[in-house]
Symmetry: C2
Subunit: 440 residues, 2 copies
């Protein structure tokens, strides 16, 4: 099957409708999955470890007749350390370099959020405290989508935030453990690893069981069952965003080697068939050269089939009027990954209001950011960058307001509060303020 | 019906179970409401204004045969200004004072979050940008739960964040507008007021209609239909937390006038019958005096019936061993409002890890914070202060990562990324990094 990537022109009268249709993605809710997840969560909530053990043995096909107790799923620190020690030297060094850089960037995030306090002339003190969550759960997929880089990206911000307990769950289909994932856990500050997965793992983390403590928040990607379970336990615990398919939007002024741009589009398209890769460029000749590079390079890619489907179904090469229009379109798309592959990229970056992460200049390939630049690779998808942020230290912190009203402050504030409280018909609110007024 | 507030002792062997049972609150999902909301949202999505008009005329019983076009629901700026001008002088002044103080506090929040950028020795630049949302929707309940203070608390943080369009929706049952709500909109920076409500208003804000632009986030409280609709549109737009019943937890060392503490408990209990008010105190005699105050003051309260049910069903007076234990219990409760009514309250506040807002010292009644101290009164309920924060400027901002890798940086980062990408079986990621390596 040959790749057939659609070519659009922003001057076409129906361009915006065509673009909207191309961007549209709705996660389908599958009634069978919903019913199954509701049952699993209820079982885990009421039967605890017994239910988790049963589901894990069955769904993950744990060999030798299955595990007989939850203890079998706990991975000891020595096993994590051994996994790290057994990696090829180059891989271990790369993981350590990536972890170190991710830690440095996220330390900067932490420095930004210190809380504040200020004192008013009458002695009233107002402020905001920032504190870490106590305990979080990190979901790591098992099997073919097991990415050690995701362990780093999810665990390190929690550790930097000051979370004391970081519980990682990762299913082991057929009992097979991914050694690189265990090695990543060893260097990312994970405090406990449990080899369970699916909705049963989400339930165990949310409600707690005899052997697994309830956490305060669950983060990390998973399949449709995991996503449905996270939605259902939201409120009992915090969750991160439910991620849609991954996306890259490349804005190019035509000065970058077209092979580089083609490969950058591939690097998104190879994730899965629903991934989306779009190029915006004002130069029609350049677009033709990128298209030629796509045809030239695609046969060399091991994941050519996935890339072909993704580019044909959801990709586009878009001729725009100019780079200013490209920035306007980029704001409407609010892409997860935005590459500005151009000379003096800051002039365009300053026009961007909505993007999960911006990669500026031709040397900033998205793949560098995916692994080791330092910023997080967990980013808002499906246009949610309009209102949400990359995963960060702030996802593992929360704020509390602090209000310490002085006796003098209570005299002025009390009259204002009472006036408004009577206006809203809340007399106890008003009386509570008035009791603090001096009667003389 | 006399109030019968339960008295607990932390030394009782079943204390923690009793407390957990008392705190337990699960919002019930009502299948009829869910089905109704799903239908309303689908109609609004596909039929736009026509559907919003029909539902509003029907559900809000718009008089004179109902409105004939959406224009009838738009409230002009002149009408908002007139509502403000027509308020009694004391009320107008109180609203203005409250708005001014809320603005000052939230400006401090904005100052904290500036983003950052740093340059590495090889010239690679990494950073984080902070930008406001473009357009937000604020839901304000109509009828008896119409609170002008909520207009201030939801709209001002959005305005301070730099949101350009703040669209407020408020239903007008029987066509009656709440003048104090309109007045609050006039001073809170709301850019458009539309008198629609319910799931149809949530749908209009989320999907957009011919006359109402789609927003990026919807905040504000509402009834069960509104809450269900917000849950369903989450992902298409951002939403704030779904609030549970309001709660107050008072930690008292026995030095505060017991009438003050009794009235503070009332001020929460008067909200609704599910509201929760709990006192923790190490002094049994003092607890008895608060109980006496409750019986003395309750008959004077216009909302005595609601307070009686709330205190009897969900309230508690708890004798604790000492203030240190009180702080531990407070962390387990993670209350929306925490009053530390004690001498030198900071010594106890420093032990608190989880609370929506802390009110320190006997002059800091929750009611002052509800209206005019400055910090937000939209706070995490139902133990969600373990992982979430008061509504704030940060809810109307989002972050974007910025990555600008230098040519030299691409040489070192490219090798690390390629190593990890090959390890994960993502060859296009690896090749994309390798293309940036100098071949010499």
């Amino acid at each position: 099957m040959a790749v057939r990537i659609r070519k659009l022109d922003s001057t076409a009268p129906d361009f915006r409708q065509t673009l909207d249709a191309l961007l549209a993605f709705e996660a389908e809710t599958d009634d069978a999955i919903e019913a199954s997840v509701a049952k699993i969560l209820a079982e885990v909530k009421h039967r605890g470890d017994v239910a988790v053990l049963e589901y894990t043995n069955r769904f993950d096909r744990i060999p030798n007749g299955g595990a007989t107790s939850m203890a079998a799923f706990d991975v000891k620190q020595a096993e994590l350390d051994a996994a790290l020690a057994a990696l090829p030297e180059a891989q271990r060094a790369a993981l350590r370099t990536a972890a170190g850089r991710i830690r440095v960037f996220h330390e900067r995030q932490k420095q930004e959020l210190n809380g504040f306090t200020f004192t008013e002339p009458d002695g009233t003190v107002l402020g905001q405290r920032v504190t870490p969550l106590d305990r979080v759960g990190i979901y790591v997929p098992g099997g073919k989508a097991a990415y050690p880089s995701s362990v780093l990206m999810n665990a390190i911000p929690a550790q930097v935030a000051g979370v004391q307990e970081i519980v990682m769950v990762v299913p082991t289909p057929d009992g097979v453990k991914n050694q690189m994932v265990l090695a990543a856990a060893a260097i990312a500050g994970v405090t406990r690893v449990i080899t369970i997965g699916g909705a049963q793992a989400v339930g165990a983390l949310a409600y707690g069981t005899e052997t697994i403590p309830a956490v305060d928040k669950i983060v990390g990607p998973g399949n449709a069952y995991v996503a449905a379970a996270k939605r259902r336990v939201f409120g009992t615990v915090g969750i991160d965003m439910i991620a849609g398919p991954s996306e890259i939007l490349v804005l190019c002024d035509g000065t970058t080697d077209p092979d580089w741009v083609a490969m950058d589009l591939f690097s998104q398209a190879e994730h899965d068939e629903l991934a989306q890769a779009i190029l915006l460029c004002p130069d029609a000749d350049y677009i033709a050269r990128v298209e030629a590079s796509i045809h030239k390079l695609l046969p060399t890619m091991p994941r050519a089939a996935t890339i072909t489907t993704s580019l044909s179904d959801r990709g586009a090469l878009v001729k725009v009027r100019d780079m200013v229009e490209a920035c306007d379109i980029a704001n409407a798309i609010a892409a997860e990954h935005l590459e500005i592959s151009a000379e003096e990229p800051l002039q365009w970056a300053d026009r961007i209001r909505h993007a999960g992460a911006m990669f500026l200049g031709r040397f900033s390939s998205e793949s560098l950011g995916d692994y080791c630049c330092g910023p997080n690779h967990v980013l808002p998808t499906s246009r949610t960058a309009r209102f949400s942020s990359p995963l960060g230290v702030y996802d593992f912190q929360k704020r509390s307001s602090v209000i310490q009203v002085s006796e003098q402050g209570a005299q002025t504030l009390g009259k204002v509060a009472a006036e408004l409280a009577y206006g809203e018909g809340l007399q106890a609110h008003a009386r509570s303020a008035e009791l603090r007024l001096k009667t003389s």
